[in-house]
């Protein structure tokens, strides 16, 4: 069985182990969950060595067949199974998931009530997220999405702060809709690849009836031009796009994100901000650009305009945010707008920038949530106005926060910059006027981030904050790891750049 199979299975085993074990000390559950996370990370890192970086084909694949539906469609059988594998786009995202997931597990307070449930749902969410990024099969993918949906719902519902129940329900409803949209769109894609209305005709002999994602990608490339009517292709794409917009919290379907972040706890926030909000963009890249590139081109102007709206809307909303978590949520929305712009550009720079932005925004958001969470543990508040002068009592945390904020505003030598410039190069190449407006976001991100920084770490230190302790040893680990990765990607982007480059080229080649 290929390595990629185990990326998903290991956290699942950890989750099940936690579930079936009787009432034990919290430390036991923590140990199991952390071991699962560490093992996953080790396997993913091993995956980097096993992965042949010269091609973009799916590697490390693992597959278990489940059941067969015979004669489902014009005499073809449908083989349903769980299928995993990684290509140049999946591997870095899986790595980010493993890293952020492990650090989110670490960020769970040791003395948490109902620790068993927390570790269980976190491990399960990790399973789902891993499966989302590594699945090579529509069925697996949809199952994974659902898994993420309810695992994160329970994380927010059970472990959030005041008002978390409503937030969790909001999350569930929004993301539930997006999952439904994905299901419709993906089934539609499989239908289209199988010949659509023209199925059974002699001229669609190269149609395939399968759920396998690479095969679908290869087939749909011809389908659109040969037998799928433009209207049907547009309808499929728009349904998919609707799902992406909700899933990714794009304006105007974004209101679940700030609410969820505001009420969830630190570790859940790390997971949501770091990975869960990247699945939508992944869908857009994998299924939108991969399977319906013509539609991406056709709706490109709309995508780019929405991208810029997101960049600016997110930035302005972040500026007026009164709470750090809302600010981070909106900054994430702003970042994701850049992803949309990069995808809309549909050239190698834009796609590569979008992919970089996924990684960068994931790492930075997780880092920001971790740091603000650590501050909240001490100051008991994250209202920006009531903080101040934290540099004095916690210079290390403030220092990390500074790096994270600077990364988030796209300072060079952090991952934020490299993503931003590639996305903008792509954007300017295709839509110069729209991108010109979007570039305003570069200033705005500095405005809101520095405003929050100035209010939080600079200025006179309030009396109550003078005696607060700086980072504890176990808090250094997440901060150092995430900061290190942010800087690594920023200083030497080719570390993931060559994989993303291959993926972008592959997507574009298919796009023709």
């Amino acid at each position: 069985m290929g390595l990629a199979f185990w990326f998903t299975v290991i956290p699942l085993i950890a989750a099940l182990l936690i579930l079936i074990l009787p009432k034990l000390d919290k430390a036991v559950y923590r140990t199991i969950a952390l071991s699962g996370g560490i093992l996953t990370l080790v396997l993913v890192l091993a995956g980097w060595f096993a992965f042949d970086g010269r091609t973009n084909v799916v590697q490390l694949a693992g597959r278990i067949p489940w059941f067969t539906l015979p004669g489902l469609w014009h005499g073809h059988n449908l083989v349903v199974g769980l299928s995993f594998g990684v290509d140049g786009l999946s591997l870095p995202l899986a790595t980010m998931t493993a890293v952020v997931g492990l650090l989110a597990l670490l960020a769970v307070p040791k003395d948490r009530d109902r620790g068993k449930e927390n570790y269980f749902w976190l491990s399960l969410a990790l399973t789902g997220l891993m499966a989302v990024f590594t699945s090579q099969d529509l069925f697996t993918f949809l199952v994974a999405l659902e898994l993420v949906l309810f695992a994160v719902f329970f994380l927010v519902y059970l472990f959030g702060e005041t008002g978390h129940q409503q937030a969790a329900v909001k999350f569930l409803i929004y993301r539930g809709f997006s999952t439904v949209a994905f299901m419709v769109a993906l089934v539609g894609l499989a239908w289209a690849a199988a010949g659509g209305y023209a199925a059974g005709n002699a001229n669609v002999s190269n149609a395939v009836f399968t759920l396998n994602i690479p095969t679908l990608t290869a087939t749909l490339h011809q389908a659109v031009s040969q037998w799928l009517s433009p209207a049907a292709a547009s309808a499929l794409f728009l349904v998919l796009l609707l799902g992406v917009f909700i899933e990714e919290a794009f304006v105007p379907f974004h209101t679940w994100l700030p609410t969820t972040h505001e009420h969830a706890d630190t570790s859940t926030n790390m997971l949501i901000g770091g990975v869960v909000t990247k699945t939508g963009a992944y869908v857009l890249l994998r299924f939108g650009v991969g399977m319906l590139p013509g539609e991406v081109r056709h709706w490109g102007v709309m995508l780019a305009v929405f991208g810029v709206i997101n960049i600016l809307y997110g930035a302005f909303a972040a500026w007026s945010s009164k709470d750090w978590r809302r600010l981070i949520a909106y900054s994430g929305i702003s970042h994701m707008g850049l992803v949309l712009l990069g995808v809309a550009a549909l050239n190698s720079a834009g796609l590569q920038g979008a992919m970089f932005m996924l990684i960068s925004s994931g790492l930075l958001t997780a880092l920001l949530f971790f740091l603000t969470g650590a501050m909240k543990d001490r100051t008991t508040t994250l209202t920006i106005r009531s903080l101040g002068g934290l540099s004095k009592s916690m210079p290390m945390l403030s220092g990390f926060l500074m790096v994270a904020a600077l990364g988030s505003l796209g300072l060079p030598l952090t991952s934020g910059f490299i993503s931003e410039i590639q996305a903008f190069i792509g954007g300017f190449a295709t839509y110069p006027a729209i991108s010109f407006v979007g570039a305003l976001g570069v200033v705005l991100s500095a405005v809101y981030m520095l405003y929050a920084m100035e209010r939080t770490t600079f200025g006179p230190t309030a009396e109550g904050f003078l005696q607060l302790a700086d980072a504890r040893p176990f808090e250094y680990l997440p901060a150092v790891v995430l900061t290190g990765l942010v800087l690594l990607v920023g200083v030497y982007p080719d570390v993931i750049g060559h994989l993303f480059g291959l993926s972008a080229q592959a997507l574009l080649r298919i796009g023709g």
């Binding site: 500026w319 007026s320 590569q352 030598l413 490299i418 010109f436 500095a446 030497y492 972008a504």
Partner: protein, 634 residues
């Protein structure tokens, strides 16, 4: 030697990493010692590279490695040595070494002394890496990095709210300019296919900068202006100059190094580096000249009335940067850089001397000082050297460089700019000697603070003396004495003469300029040394002008009122929209579902028979449909 030029930036980086490893509790002597030694080594490397180039003008070179692959393009990092770069390396490393030494005394007993040196080392590394960048992307990277260091150092005393605000302001305002640069280099990349200077220039000069939506000529102008917007942000050119005076909240050595000698000169350097692009578009060059001229005058006018010693010098910096830009803009490439070279020394000197004063008296208000000359003899004399150099009095350094620019302005036919430059020169002489007389002569206006004033230790005075010497002799590098060595050196970058013109000395003009400067000095002496003319009365008689100058032409207020307020307004609207309109719609949708549930719940009567009747009737309807639709029954 040229292939070792990378050592120049790397040595401070080593210092940074070393200090980072030492931590926040390291001993001051160790920290400062290591930093000074490494920077001095860096200076020696720079000097070696500089002289090596001087001896063999054709050994300039580019050394790169792949950094990122972007589609078919490979983006590299590395370093490139040209004559311009070598000059900048020498200036940066020289001033850095002296400022590092000075800071040892100035920052003595500061709680975060090692952190200060960390930031400084990082800055020097970034600045040098910026200078030796072989392409626009790397330049932009370090362009932002120096901005970051500036931000960190302005906000070094983060517990002062003004410092925090000033740091934020500096970052955001320069970032505003950086967006222009950002877009500019992206457009250049897209149109020429590379970030490399040589490729870009090749395309620009041959009219091959091509994008589908714009003509090559317009694109050249557009990118030129965009790049200049970035340069204007960094070099505090009107209208993006507002951050620099506020930046004086940082420690004075920072003002000397970053906000006088090096970083703010990066904008000028950028324009010089991109000169072929500007030359290819006459419009962009004209914009540079005019913005430079306006800035030179504006800075000088505001400096006339400021009370804070550092702010006067800051506005002076703005004004002098304007001169440099104007020089570049009128085509005098070599003179602009020449002024950058001399300015780095005399402005660093003025700041350090001011720092020495502030260190001694613990105030920055000119009208609390006075009579310090007796107590701080070295500071007084070095400040005087700096002031004379700034005023452009023969034969101090500033005279040669500033006069070259004014001469070039005149000879290239920019009459208006020439008059602006002369008026600004008069103001310059006046305001700097106003500072000099108020500080060092007359009677102390605040006895308590002046009583304990004394000269700093050798680490503070030695840099002052060295800089004073440089402020005196730096101008001689480009005179008839060495056959105009500097301009020949700089022009060697482009043997075809593409990068600007040089003009022969113009002795009558020199005499006029010196006269203007001396009149300014004389007026200052009459008002503040031997008070023949009452400054207060003059201010009252010209109260409108006075207030305009004192309030910096109300530019801060205009900015606040227009830019910041608009931004906040939009942010508020977005917030309102988000909270009360969008979320309201979402909540209304939720409420709609809830209402539907509440309404439908009344169908749950609990009466089983009712349910049955409904179900039965439904079956009947289905039956009817089946019968009439399928048929065959009747």
């Amino acid at each position: 030697m040229v292939e070792y030029a990378w050592l120049a930036p790397v040595l401070p980086l080593v210092g940074y990493v070393f200090l980072l490893a030492l931590g926040r509790r390291a001993a001051e002597g160790l920290v400062a010692g290591v930093s000074v030694i490494l920077t001095f080594l860096s200076f020696l490397v720079s000097l070696a590279v500089f002289t090596a180039l001087g001896a063999h003008p054709d050994v300039t070179g580019t050394y790169t490695m792949r950094w990122l692959t972007l589609g078919a393009h490979s983006i590299d990092v590395g370093f490139q040595v040209t004559h311009l770069n070598a000059l900048m390396l020498v200036v940066v490393s020289a001033v850095s070494t002296l400022v590092f030494l000075f800071s040892k005394g100035y920052m003595h007993k500061d709680e975060r002394f090692p952190v200060f040196y960390q930031y400084l080392n990082l800055f020097v590394f970034s600045m040098m890496a910026l200078v030796v960048s072989p392409n626009l992307l790397q330049l932009y990277i370090f362009w932002e990095m120096v901005g970051l260091c500036s931000y960190l150092l302005i906000g070094f005393w983060y517990f002062k709210p003004e410092a925090a605000l000033a740091a934020k302001k500096s970052f955001i305002v320069t970032r505003l300019g950086d967006v222009g640069l950002f877009i500019g280099i992206i457009l250049l990349f897209l149109s020429s296919g590379s970030f490399d200077y040589s490729t870009v220039f090749q395309a620009a000069t041959t009219g091959h900068l091509g994008l589908s939506w714009i003509t090559p000529a317009d694109l050249t102008t557009l990118t030129g202006i965009l790049v200049f917007v970035g340069a204007a942000g960094k070099s505090a050119q009107f209208p993006l100059h507002v951050w620099l005076p506020d930046a004086m909240e940082g420690p004075t050595p920072v003002s000397a190094l970053i906000h006088a000698a090096t970083m703010v000169a990066a904008g000028v350097y950028l324009v010089a580096r991109m000169y072929p692009l500007f030359v290819a578009s006459g419009t962009a060059l004209t914009v540079v000249a005019w913005v430079g001229g306006i800035t030179a005058l504006l800075g000088a006018l505001i400096a006339l009335t400021q009370r804070d010693i550092k702010r006067v010098i800051a506005y002076s910096t703005i004004s002098q940067l304007g001169y440099m830009m104007m020089g570049l803009g009128v085509g005098a490439y070599a003179y602009g850089m020449f002024h950058l070279f001399t300015h780095a020394f005399f402005k660093a000197l003025l700041f350090l001397a001011a720092g020495s004063v502030i260190h001694a008296v613990d105030t920055q208000d000119l009208f609390e000082m006075g009579g310090l000359g007796k107590k701080m003899r070295i500071t007084q004399w070095t400040f005087l050297f700096g002031a004379l150099s700034l005023s452009g009095v023969f034969p101090w350094a500033g005279f040669w460089s500033k006069d070259s620019i004014i001469n070039a302005t005149l000879q290239s036919g920019h009459m208006t700019l020439f008059w602006i430059a002369e008026i600004a020169a008069f103001c310059t002489a006046f305001y700097i000697f106003r500072v000099y007389f108020l500080t060092f002569h007359g009677k102390p206006r605040d006895e308590s603070k002046m009583a304990h004033a004394h000269e700093g230790s050798w680490v503070m005075t030695v840099p002052l003396i060295i800089l004073a010497v440089m402020a005196f002799i730096a101008g001689l590098f480009n005179t008839g004495l060495n056959n105009f060595g500097l301009q020949r050196y700089l022009m060697a970058d482009s043997p075809t003469g593409l990068i600007g013109k040089v003009y022969p000395d113009n002795v009558p003009l020199m005499i006029i300029s010196v006269t203007v400067a001396l009149v300014g000095i004389g007026l200052a002496a009459l008002m503040y040394w031997k008070p023949v003319i009452s400054a207060e009365k003059l201010a009252r008689n010209l109260s409108g002008l006075y207030r305009l100058s004192f309030n910096k032409f109300y530019l801060d207020e205009i900015y606040y009122g227009v830019v910041v307020w608009t931004g906040k307004l939009i942010a508020g609207i977005v917030d309102f929209f988000d909270r009360y309109i969008l979320d309201l719609i979402v909540r209304m949708l939720g409420r709609l579902g809830y209402m539907g549930g509440v309404g439908l719940k009344y169908t749950q009567t609990g009466q089983v028979q009712t349910y049955s009747v409904i179900a039965f009737f439904g079956i009947m309807i289905l039956l009817a449909i089946a019968m009439f639709h399928v048929g065959g029954v009747f």
